[in-house]
C-alpha cells in the first residue's frame, strides 16, 4: 500500500481537530480541499501517506475524533 489517502469528516471543524492531533503525534499530513468525487462538502479533509493509515485511524479513535471514512486517492 503506497500512495496517498485522505480522511474525510462530517465537518471542517473535525478536520481541524484531527490535523491538530496529527501534528502533536508527529504524523505527516496536510489539510486539503475535499476531492469533489469523494464528497459534496465545501470544506477540507486531511491527506496523509497511506502507510500511516493504521496510525491515523488509531489516533482518531484514541482522541475520540469522529470521522466519516478513509479513502485512498
Amino acid at each position: 500500500m503506497s500512495g496517498e489517502s485522505v480522511i474525510l469528516f462530517h465537518s471542517s471543524n473535525y478536520a481541524m481537530w484531527a490535523a491538530d492531533a496529527l501534528k502533536k503525534a508527529k504524523i505527516g499530513h496536510k489539510l486539503v480541499p475535499v476531492p469533489r468525487e469523494l464528497s459534496s462538502d465545501c470544506g477540507y479533509c486531511v491527506r496523509f501517506d497511506t502507510l500511516s493509515a493504521g496510525q491515523v485511524s488509531a489516533l482518531m479513535e484514541k482522541e475520540n475524533i469522529e470521522f466519516d471514512r478513509i479513502e485512498q486517492i
Binding site: 481537530w17 491538530d20 459534496s40 465545501c42 470544506g43
Partner: protein, 384 residues
C-alpha cells in the same frame, strides 16, 4: 480618560488582541470552514485554536463542545429556549440579567414553562437549602449567573451544581461577568452548559461569546436557535446533527474570535493567571470602597468590600444619572448608572427603580485612577 465601565465591556484591550483582529482582517480575511483554499484553512486554524483554548479554559476535553455565538445573550437564548419544552419548570435567582430573565419570561408567556425566582440572602446569594426546597418533579433546569453584574456577588456554584446533578436538574451558568476572573471547571463544578461573553473579562472584541456544553452531555436535547449554512453536509437541506455545526449556522465572527483567542492567551500569560486578576481587582475594590466611605459624603455601596471589581454605589441626595454625567463630563471618568439590565437584582438589593452607579474595574485600572475618582466623587457629593 478613566474607564471604569469594564463590566459592560472591557477597555482597553490588550495589544495582542487588537493586533490579532487587524492581522486577521488584513492578512487572512477568508471564511473559516467554507472552502478548501489555503486562506480558508488558515482562518479555520485560527478559529480552531480559539475553540481549543475555550475548551481548556472551562475544563472540557472536546473542543467540538464549544459553540461560538455573538455574545452571552445569544448563548443563553440558545440554551434556555433550546432545552426547555412544554411543562418544564425552571429555577433561577433574583440576581439575573435580562438575558436570562427575558427568555424565561417569553417561554412563560407562551405557556411553555413555569419558573421560580429564588431570593437568596440579602445579597441575592442562593443556598443549597433554598434550591432543594424549590425543586419540583417538573424541574428540568437551574439557570443562574456565576457573578452578579450589579453587585459582584458570587454564587456557590459547585455546591448548587452538585445538588442539581444529584436531583437530575440540569445547570446553565451565565459566566458573562465571571469568565476571566473566577475559574470554572465544568466537570468538577457540575455545570452542564456555560454561556459566556468574550468582550468583558476575557478581553476579546465585542461580538464574541459562546455556549459550552459539558463533555458527554446529550446535546441532542438542545434545539438550535437558528439553522443555515455550516459548510458541512452541503448536499443536504437538513441541519447537521453534530457538534458544533448543529448550533453554528452562518459565518462566524472570525476576526473577533482571533482576538478572543489572544485575550485568553493574555490571561494565561499573567504570572498567576486568574489569581493575578482576582488579586488586582480585590485590591482595587477594597481600596476604592474604603477610601470612598471615608471621603465621599453620603456614599453607600451595595457591594462587599471583598470582591472582584464590580462595585455598585449611590450618593445620598444625588440621582445616579447626575453622578455619572458629572463624572463623565467634568472628570472624564466613564461609569454606568441605572439598572444594568437587571431589574430584579435591583429590587432584591433595594435600589429599584433608581438603580446605582457602577464601577467595573479591569486589570488595567490603577490606584491612581481610583484616587482621581474618589476626589471627583468628593467634589460631586459636596459637603465637608
Amino acid at each position: 480618560m478613566i474607564y471604569f465601565d469594564n463590566s459592560a465591556t472591557s477597555y482597553p484591550k490588550p495589544s495582542q488582541v487588537t493586533d490579532a483582529v487587524i492581522y486577521f482582517m488584513t492578512k487572512i480575511g477568508a471564511n473559516p470552514g467554507r472552502a478548501g483554499h489555503s486562506q480558508s484553512v488558515k482562518a479555520g486554524e485560527i478559529v480552531f485554536e480559539a475553540r481549543k483554548k475555550v475548551a481548556v479554559f472551562f475544563g472540557l476535553k472536546s473542543p467540538m463542545n464549544v459553540i461560538f455565538t455573538s455574545n452571552a445573550t445569544e448563548a443563553l437564548n440558545t440554551a434556555v429556549k433550546g432545552l426547555l419544552i412544554k411543562g418544564d419548570h425552571v429555577i433561577t435567582s433574583a440576581m439575573e440579567h435580562n438575558s436570562v430573565m427575558r427568555p424565561l419570561k417569553r417561554l412563560e408567556e407562551d405557556g411553555i414553562i413555569t419558573f421560580s425566582v429564588l431570593e437568596g440572602d440579602d445579597r441575592g446569594v442562593l443556598s443549597v437549602e433554598e434550591v432543594i426546597k424549590a425543586i419540583k418533579p417538573a424541574t428540568k433546569v437551574l439557570v443562574i449567573n456565576h457573578m452578579s453584574n450589579v453587585t459582584g456577588a458570587v454564587q456557590p456554584v459547585r455546591e448548587i451544581g452538585e445538588l442539581c446533578r444529584s436531583k437530575g436538574v440540569l445547570t446553565i451558568l451565565d459566566c458573562a461577568q465571571s469568565a476571566g476572573i473566577i475559574p470554572l471547571d465544568m466537570c468538577a463544578d457540575y455545570i452542564d452548559i456555560v454561556c459566556f461573553t468574550g468582550h468583558k473579562g476575557l478581553y476579546g472584541p465585542t461580538g464574541t461569546g459562546g455556549m459550552v456544553i459539558r463533555d458527554g452531555f446529550d446535546f441532542n436535547r438542545i434545539r438550535p436557535l437558528k439553522e443555515g449554512g455550516t459548510g458541512s453536509l452541503s448536499d443536504k437541506t437538513v441541519q447537521p446533527a453534530f457538534m458544533p455545526d448543529k448550533f453554528e449556522s452562518g459565518t462566524l465572527n472570525a476576526a473577533g474570535i482571533a482576538g478572543l483567542s489572544k485575550g485568553i492567551d493574555f490571561l494565561n500569560s499573567l504570572p498567576e493567571g486568574l489569581k493575578s486578576v482576582q488579586l488586582h481587582k480585590q485590591t482595587l475594590q477594597k481600596y476604592f470602597i474604603e477610601k470612598a466611605k471615608k471621603h465621599v459624603k453620603g456614599f453607600v455601596t451595595q457591594s462587599e468590600t471583598e470582591g472582584y471589581g464590580v462595585v455598585s454605589f449611590t450618593i445620598e441626595g444625588l440621582s445616579v444619572s447626575e453622578v455619572t454625567m458629572k463624572l463623565s463630563d467634568l472628570y472624564g471618568i466613564m461609569s454606568r448608572q441605572g439598572l444594568h439590565c437587571a431589574p430584579l437584582a435591583h429590587r432584591r438589593i433595594g435600589t429599584f427603580p433608581e438603580g446605582t452607579v457602577r464601577f467595573g474595574f479591569s486589570v488595567f485600572n490603577t490606584r491612581d485612577e481610583i484616587d482621581s475618582a474618589v476626589k471627583a466623587l468628593k467634589e460631586i457629593a459636596g459637603g465637608n
